[in-house]
């Protein structure tokens, strides 16, 4: 795969490297169980197209019910797609099973949200880190032991901790173990699913710094999923915003803040308080009407129209679903009939 020359934009520097992960028309519907529910389903992911370029950190942000965690599990093949393709490093992983799928996992790893649930409480830290090395036949016994020690040192833990159990560690330390586990097989792509949401502020900062350092050191590609837009903006090169199962806007980290094209993005940005009293006294919160609708029955046309401050209802907004189209800066797309007018 030839590496194309990076094009530089004034406001954002976005690398146009070859695409490492391409999500094409991904759908994930969970059928609603029970009598009389007919063909109802929770449309967690309802038609998503996404690209992640080699070496970049893509942030995926959205509120509850937007489908970002489900999308993460489709991308990592922990859940099968209802429809659509996931092309990773040239291969469509939705078509892979068994051993072939397991081989792909060597290149793609995940860091989980809950530090208390993501480590098997019955295994020692050493066993937990050894597991990927054994599964992928990396090195022999002694080399693996050494590698486990190096991994612990890398994430800032004492290498002699390999016979301790997870319950002996704090949340932040456990998250480091999870990071060490993800790096054990030297993957090229790491999905961080709310990796710092469950941590205290100062511990979260440690982990955020660690993730940044590791990306630089190992040239990793990240998919960083969170509901906290400030954290996402800090860690990402580009950001995709999801609402009710679909991507509504994608842009570079500065473009999305300086010139959001979608009214939901704009509202989301304005909802976030900033630790600066002077700014907070002045600003106007864009308060959205109502609550997030249920993913079982999304609104017609543009899903956001019932809460949108600029929706034309009745009209195109309630009838036609907008597609992702270029608006605003180069490399910025938004799905809105009146993009940029909010």
């Amino acid at each position: 795969m030839a590496v194309q020359a990076a094009e530089r934009q004034p406001a954002t520097a976005v690398r146009t490297d070859p695409v490492l992960l391409r999500v094409q028309g991904a759908y994930k519907h969970f059928p609603v169980v029970g009598f009389g529910s007919g063909g109802l389903a929770v449309r967690a992911v309802d038609g998503v197209d996404l690209e992640i370029r080699r070496g970049e950190a893509l942030g995926l942000v959205g509120e509850s019910g937007c489908g970002k965690s489900t999308l993460a599990r489709l991308i990592t093949a922990l859940l099968p797609v209802t429809r659509g393709n996931i092309i990773f490093d040239g291969q469509d992983i939705t078509k892979l099973r068994g051993t072939k799928l397991r081989r792909v996992r060597r290149k793609m790893q995940m860091i989980f949200q809950d530090p208390f649930a993501s480590l098997d409480p019955r295994m020692t830290v050493g066993d937990i880190l050894m597991e990927p090395l054994q599964n992928f036949h990396i090195g022999n016994g002694r080399e693996r032991t050494r590698r486990v020690q190096e991994l612990l040192r890398l994430v800032g833990l004492n290498p002699n901790f390999n016979n301790r159990y997870p319950h002996e560690f704090s949340g932040g330390q456990r998250q480091r173990i999870g990071i060490a586990r993800a790096l054990a097989v030297n993957p090229s792509f790491i999905v961080c699913d709310e990796a710092v949401s469950a941590l205290d502020v100062s511990i979260a900062a440690q982990i955020i710094n660690l993730l940044q350092d590791l990306q630089r050191e190992f040239q990793l590609t990240y998919l960083f999923i969170a509901h906290d837009l400030a954290v996402v903006r800090h860690l990402s090169d580009r950001i995709a915003v999801m609402y009710l199962g679909k991507v509504v806007e994608t842009a570079g980290r500065n473009d999305i803040y300086d010139r959001p094209q979608h009214p939901y993005t704009k509202a989301l940005l304005s909802s976030i308080p900033v630790p600066d009293p002077a700014i907070e006294r002045e600003r106007a919160l864009i308060s959205l009407k109502g609550e997030i609708p249920s993913p079982v029955n999304p609104p017609s046309g543009c899903r956001f129209h019932p809460r949108c401050p600029i929706a034309r209802v009745p009209g195109v907004c309630s009838e036609v679903e907008p597609q992702l189209e270029p608006h605003g800066a180069v490399d910025q797309v938004a799905a809105c009939h009146f993009a940029g007018e909010a």
Partner: protein, 361 residues
């Protein structure tokens, strides 16, 4: 002259466990004036929630308030008898908690629960209470309040449940509302609605508020004064503008700089406070923050500082103080210390080739 509603003086709350005594609240003095919003900031285990529970005398076993005074409008809460304290709770001071789903009874209608909060204090008859419930729900901007009173908590969304909790808290028109992490469990856009609601209520009703949170941005949005807690003590206190502009305690400074801001244009490195929160069973000697402090000096390790005045109405508990710290030390505090050595050794295993997952050695 602002009237002082609540005055906490040298409060000590301790937990007597089988492994020793945990000094959860270790000498806290603070006050809330009528109509103002005070922020109490700190991370888990700093004692902020225990302080609030102590004020309401809701400290769970094996904890006890061991010394200090809590004066509400001059009366000492720690000396109230059972009947007085019941009168006090919910009526003079009300509290709302973090997770509205567990604070609301799932098998009782929401309207009824709010009614109960009122009839329990004999201020309203049942009939009056029923009437006020709808009014209260409207005040907290719950749409279609008349029909919503008959719903159960699971039929409310997260944001609405929190509004119902606020309505319950305000139902007896308390002078002070204590809110413990009221927006942590909510979505960002809903959080913004609740923040806006709280600002409006403070303006309309004049209710004073004590906001307990780890979220500095929330404090910037809602509070006039802020108190920073660490290991059961107050380490800094002052007006919000001053604290945010020139924090003097290294912990406050680190907290402010360890949170990414959504409006930051550059990817400035975050300050991360090394180490873990202190073990309250075996706290470190001297200044409780010293093992984690990037600017520690020898004195910090042996002698615990007192709260000193460092600015107009601003106090801090520190021997060093941020204004005495040099630029280069601040830069050093932000450096990466990733073990490059370990990284080199790990990179020796080549990343998997395309289509190959079982590269042995």
């Amino acid at each position: 002259m602002a009237q002082t509603l609540l005055q906490v003086e040298d409060l000590h709350t301790q937990f007597f466990t089988s492994r020793g005594v945990v000094r959860a609240v270790d000498g806290v003095t603070l006050h809330v004036d009528a109509g103002e919003t005070l922020g109490v900031v700190g991370e888990s285990g700093c004692g902020k929630t225990m302080t609030a529970l102590s004020i309401l005398r809701l400290v769970p076993d094996p904890g006890k308030i061991t010394s200090g005074r809590i004066l509400f409008r001059g009366r000492d809460v720690t000396k109230m008898d059972d009947e007085e304290i019941r009168e006090f709770r919910g009526n003079d001071v009300a509290m709302i908690f973090q997770d509205p789903m567990t604070s609301l009874n799932p098998v009782t209608k929401v309207g009824f629960q709010i009614e109960e909060a009122m009839t329990a204090h004999d201020r309203f008859t049942e009939k009056l209470a029923k009437g006020r419930v709808v009014e209260l729900l409207k005040r907290v901007r719950v749409p279609a309040a008349e029909t919503r009173v008959k719903d159960y908590p699971h039929q409310f969304s997260g944001g609405m449940r929190q509004r119902a909790m606020i309505a319950m808290g305000l139902s007896n028109e308390p002078a002070l509302l204590i809110a413990d992490e009221p927006t942590t469990a909510l979505d960002v856009t809903v959080q913004a609605q609740i923040i806006q609601l709280m600002k409006q209520l403070n303006r309309e009703l004049g209710t004073a508020m004590m906001l307990i949170t780890h979220n500095m941005a929330l404090v910037a949005s809602l509070c006039q004064r802020v108190v920073v807690m660490y290991a059961g003590r107050i380490v800094e206190e002052g007006p919000v503008e001053q604290i945010f502009k020139s924090p003097q305690h290294p912990y406050t400074w680190s907290l402010l700089r360890s949170v990414p801001r959504v409006d930051e244009a550059r990817k400035d490195r975050l300050v991360s406070i090394k180490g873990l929160p202190p073990d309250l069973l075996n706290p470190p000697p001297g200044c409780k923050f010293h093992p984690r402090c990037p600017f520690v000096i020898d004195r910090c390790k042996v002698e615990e500082p007192e709260l000193e005045e460092v600015g107009l109405n601003q106090t801090a508990r520190c021997w060093v103080l941020m204004r005495n710290v040099k630029e280069e030390d601040i830069d050093a505090a932000k450096q990466s210390a990733l073990s490059r050595d370990a990284a080199q050794k790990l990179k020796a295993v080549p990343p998997a080739e395309v289509g190959d997952g079982s590269a042995g050695r």
